[in-house]
Amino acid sequence: MKKILYSLLLIIPIFWISCDTIEDDQKLVYPKGQTRETTPITVTSSKQRVLLEDFTGWRCTNCPAAAEKATELITKYGDSLVVMAVHATSFAKPSAENNNVDFRTEYGGQWATYFGCTSLPAGMINRTKIGNAYKVNDASWDISIQNSLSTKEHIMDINLGAVHRVADNMILVSCENEFLKNYASPTLISILVLESGIIGVQKSNDNPLIEDYEFNHVLRKNGLVDYFLSIMPISKGQKINKNYLIDIDSDIKDIKKCSVVVFVTDAETKEVIQVNTIEL
């Protein structure tokens, strides 16, 4: 009896004998925002596109006119143009008047300051300096976009796939970045979520307070900004595939009205090299 008891004591060590099993998705810890999961690529592009950043705010009375301009340009240029409405500066500061709706984003505010787009409406075409400034008045948007499309080199294509994952409330974005020419400078990539069709309060020149104004292409929070895409010179034909996970901004009202915008910029000049968008 004693012998059996003693032997049983020796069984205790079995509990020391543990074995860790690491699941597939845990083996490599991807850098923040990136993931190994993929989603099928559904949007491809083979032409140069232009990014128009429209800096705006609900208090800015001239902005509705600029927004309308942007809408016209979308009709004119089709999918060669991607518009992003960046709500920033004190013009976008919420108050009880607009039901405390806040469309500002941290990075939006930083861009406004850095690129000198603080008196609104202001816009940027592919973040390219025209003259001495990045800021382009809405009157010159049309001509600037035309110039950009005709002169800008077609360096790369961005093919996208995106899906909204209900299970963990994330957006999974798969990007295939294909370089068509050698490119020496380091590049950065940004993955942002825009929401359209948001009804809210907007001041205007014609009408002091529009209660049911429709906001489109609104830049939302939790975007991934300025991630390194390449730090070494890229050769023609090189493909860089990356997958990103974005936490959905809790302020988003309707995920079905959202789209994902991905643009690649030159790390030194800040210029946008290519942009693409995909609806969710």
Binding site: S7, S18, D20, I22, K27, L28, P31
Partner: protein, 566 residues
């Protein structure tokens, strides 16, 4: 540490002063010292040795008193001889233990060695001449509660040169348990049955703190952290059966996810299988063994390369050679993956028969072949290599394309008369240089011959003549340098004194110098003490014992060994 050792030493030495020892106990031990004086020799690549003399020495002292034993080992490497890792430099008590048996329990505290089954998941052992020592430091308990059941439990950390392994988290903690059942002792009714069955199983777990290992994507500069598991478990099951003249041994082991420096940090689990079957009758012995190893390197420190800190033991399935030219291209187990078979037939042609002659003839035939395992690479990681991925997939029953080693070997020994005994050995070897880290080099094919004649001059004096010949077409590097011939003459006087002269001549070397590795040795044995002095050139090569190899660098000079047991 030193204090306890000194106290133990004092107690034991003083016990020797009494004829009966302390309380009737007994003191035994052994001692060995190797001394080397080597000078620089550019022809054979012997490195310049700054020290006048290199010395390895150790002494074991063991005190036993019935069911109790204690002991220690003092080692000195001042400085370590060539071929021993420089980290051995130093001196001290490398081993100390106390062990007590009571009833069916045996407890050992301190350092110990132990093996579970064949050692596929756990083997702690020493091979002093190769500088291998992965002694455990901790606690071992062996229980034999009933006749036929043995349970072993171990916990501890392994030795790493002179480092204090307990002071650092870098060295993993090993915990293991093994149980073995001798069925015929457990079940009395089949005790004397012609069918004898043993079976056993073990579990081992190594705990080591997670490592901060990153892979960097060269294109984007992103860094990815590899999530290294902290507890790595392995298990093994074995069975041993014998029925009259037949026997069968089989063992299977599996290791959990263990990304480490040896396998390139892949998450693939490891597997090993060993099987051996034999037939033994009077005058005839046959054995066939097969093994498969897939990612089974297990160390108690994840980022360790080299020979230390092995938790398990993966034997090579090739013949161990005693004649040096036959071991010119020695094979070491490819722990990351290999499949091998080996067959032995040993036959004694009866004395008086026509072929056997007056005294009988011994025939030994051996064949071995080792190949790579089937290996299909999986998707690489963002950095382009396989770290952090599962690495590769491999089907268990498929063999890979790469041949690592093949050998067929025949040995004939015959006593020609009462004074002359002759052995003749022939081997044909195929060797893939990838096995010693030279991928891309062409295969080496060699025919090796040896003739060994012993002549009895008188009842206690003898002469031995040995001639070896290695013929190969391959001659492209220091270690594959064409044909060799070796001759040795050894004189033995009264079993006490010996002198030997030998020369190993690389006469077939078309690229470099046709070096003569000459050597003169003398030795004297008295009871359990022996002194041996050699002078000459030692070829750079691999010294292999049991499938684990140590590179011995070229040396030119004096080598002396003194050993004694007391």
């Amino acid at each position: 540490m030193k204090k306890t050792g000194l106290i133990l030493l004092l107690v034991i030495i003083s016990s020797n002063a009494f004829s009966q020892g302390i309380f009737g106990g007994k003191v035994t031990g052994n001692f060995q010292m190797d001394l080397q004086m080597s000078k620089e020799d550019t022809v054979i690549g012997a490195e310049k040795v700054n020290e006048k003399a290199l010395m390895n020495a150790f002494t074991n002292i063991l005190y036993t008193n019935g069911d109790f034993s204690a002991g220690m080992r003092f080692e000195a490497y001042l400085n370590p001889i060539l071929g021993f890792d420089k980290q051995y430099k130093g001196a001290g008590f490398a081993y100390r233990f106390a062990s007590y048996k009571k009833d069916f329990l045996e407890i050992t505290a301190g350092n110990f060695y132990e093996q579970f089954g064949s050692g596929l998941v756990f083997r702690s052992y020493e091979e002093r001449n190769l500088g291998l020592d992965n002694a455990m430091d901790g606690l071992k308990v062996v229980a034999r509660p009933i006749n036929g059941l043995t349970i072993k439990g171990v916990i501890g950390k392994q030795r790493y040169y002179w480092e204090d392994v307990w002071a650092s988290d870098d060295f993993g903690l090993i915990r293991g348990i093994d149980a073995e059942f001798t069925l015929n002792s457990l079940i009395k009714s089949i005790e004397n049955s012609p069918l004898q069955v043993n079976f056993g199983g073990s579990f081992v777990s190594v705990y080591q703190k997670a490592e901060n290992r990153f892979i960097i994507d060269p294109v984007s500069g992103d860094s990815y952290k590899i999530n290294t598991p902290e507890n790595i478990g392995s298990g093994a099951a074995r069975v041993q059966m014998s029925y009259k003249a037949f026997n069968l041994n089989a063992e299977y082991a599996k290791k959990g996810q263990d990304p480490n420096a040896v396998n390139g940090y892949i998450f693939r689990e490891g597997q090993a299988a060993l099987i051996s079957a034999g037939y033994a009758a009077k005058g005839l012995g046959i054995n066939v063994s097969a093994k498969r190893i897939d990612n089974m390197s297990s160390k108690s420190k994840r980022n360790e390369t080299g020979n230390m800190l092995n938790v398990n033991y993966l034997p090579a399935l090739t013949r161990q050679h005693a004649y040096s030219l036959f071991a010119m291209y020695p094979y070491a187990t490819q722990v990351n993956g290999e499949v091998g078979i080996q067959a032995d037939i040993i036959y004694k042609i009866k004395k008086g028969s026509m072929l056997g002659g007056k005294y009988g003839t011994d025939l030994k035939l051996n064949y071995s072949r080792t190949m790579s395992i089937e290996n299909e690479s999986l998707a690489p990681n963002p950095a382009g290599n396989y770290e952090g991925t599962d690495g590769y997939s491999s089907s268990f029953f498929k063999v890979g394309d790469e041949l690592y080693f093949e050998e067929i070997n025949l040995e004939v020994s015959k006593k020609l008369s009462s004074d002359y005994k002759l052995s003749f050995m022939y081997s044909y070897q195929t060797f893939n240089p990838i096995a010693i880290g030279h991928p891309g080099e062409e295969f080496v094919y060699a025919n090796v011959f040896a003739a060994d004649l012993t002549q009895k001059l008188s009842k206690k004096n003898s002469l031995r003549y040995e001639l070896q010949l290695l013929l190969t077409e391959q001659d492209y590097g220091e270690w594959a340098a064409g044909d060799w011939i070796q001759g040795t003459v050894e004189y033995n006087l009264g079993g006490k004194f010996f002198a030997a002269v030998s020369d190993q001549w690389n006469y077939g070397n078309a690229h470099g110098e046709k070096v003569h590795y000459y050597n003169l040795s003398v030795g004297y044995t008295h009871g359990t003490s022996r002194v041996q002095i050699s002078y000459g050139k030692q070829r750079e090569g691999i010294m292999c014992i049991g499938g684990v190899c140590r590179m011995v660098p070229a040396s030119n000079g004096l080598f002396a060994t003194i050993t004694s047991s007391f």
